[in-house]
Assembly symmetry: C2
Homo-oligomer: 224 residues x 2
Amino acid sequence: MPVNPNADIEISAFTWVPPFAEGLVRDLRPRWALEEVGLPYRVQLLEGERPPEYYLDQPFGQVPCYREGPLTIFETGAIVQHIGEKSEKLLPRDSVARIHAIQWTYAALNSVEPAIQNLTAIDLFYTNEEWAKLRRPGAEEFARLKLKRVADRLGDKEWLEDHFTIGDLIMTTVLRIPRHTDLVAEQPNLAAYVARAEQRPAFQRALADQLAVFKQHQPEGVTA
Amino acid sequence: MPVNPNADIEISAFTWVPPFAEGLVRDLRPRWALEEVGLPYRVQLLEGERPPEYYLDQPFGQVPCYREGPLTIFETGAIVQHIGEKSEKLLPRDSVARIHAIQWTYAALNSVEPAIQNLTAIDLFYTNEEWAKLRRPGAEEFARLKLKRVADRLGDKEWLEDHFTIGDLIMTTVLRIPRHTDLVAEQPNLAAYVARAEQRPAFQRALADQLAVFKQHQPEGVTA
């Protein structure tokens, strides 16, 4: 269990989020990566408004921020790539395999996540807005196309490249976002891929540790 | 002038795009990076529908794809990071400076570009749609907030970190996208930053080479 208050590595996370965001907050990404490579970390818990000094480390005010001694990194793609540098279990040493892992990390974050986030924002935050009702079919079709492209490339392979890498880790967390829809289920190979990644013990531990904090800080009267 | 038909490195690009997209197509990113490090490249020109085999190299069917001998990379973040590995002019060798450059590359592509693309798609592709009219104020406000966060972090510095890196290169190409708005001009330090990057001779050469192809393939009756 790598959560350890005395660890050198620190990541930021929220004390609590509403149920729709449980298991999706992005600190899951470095938690999972650190579990994969077996490195302990401590957690900086944030509640409510971010203090002004937080923006010095994370200019967008988001979670997570990663600290390791004097080093601070924001952006989960860069954080997970940095953790990957510590172990070829996540980021191969061979230069071609390495850049292909990195390529999928960027693909997940720039070619897939924006389409999925647009659809998810419509469904979770703007449900009753007129523009959201009118826009939803187009946003869904665009997200579906992106998932189909990933599914086509994945084919019957276990992972996007020869082994599980940071690219699969980030892609999985992106594909988990539209869990309120059937978009991933529509592509059986993609659904199996996500299930395979979620079965990894490192993922299970990371998820359990994120959820444990939320449970501990659950406001009175809110049921999960 | 690194465009050279006999070069080892190949990038894909379009023969022609409508004026609103001129100078914004993403092959500008590797063109610029290759100019910065002084490496020659040849261009695979694509016209109309992508041939099915193109998807083998670029699963999303987008431009650019990067080829170097047996190596193929898609996603401009990964392509530019790969080019950066060839020269510390773009990607520092010091491990902290290095991950900070990479962090800004991810920030540009995941924290800034999606907000800017949403606004730009409304303005360029969906202008007359009812949902777009209703959504535009919110999309603009969100894009403005993202730019303010970058501007706040940049402050009065010349570049996002100590020297020009791949992070500045990608961020500049992202900040050029909303050129039909005043969003960047509203943040004078950000506007000056973009202008500074655009004045780099490598950028100028890359842009000229992209535009020269469009001019050469301009359909009859279309004026630039």
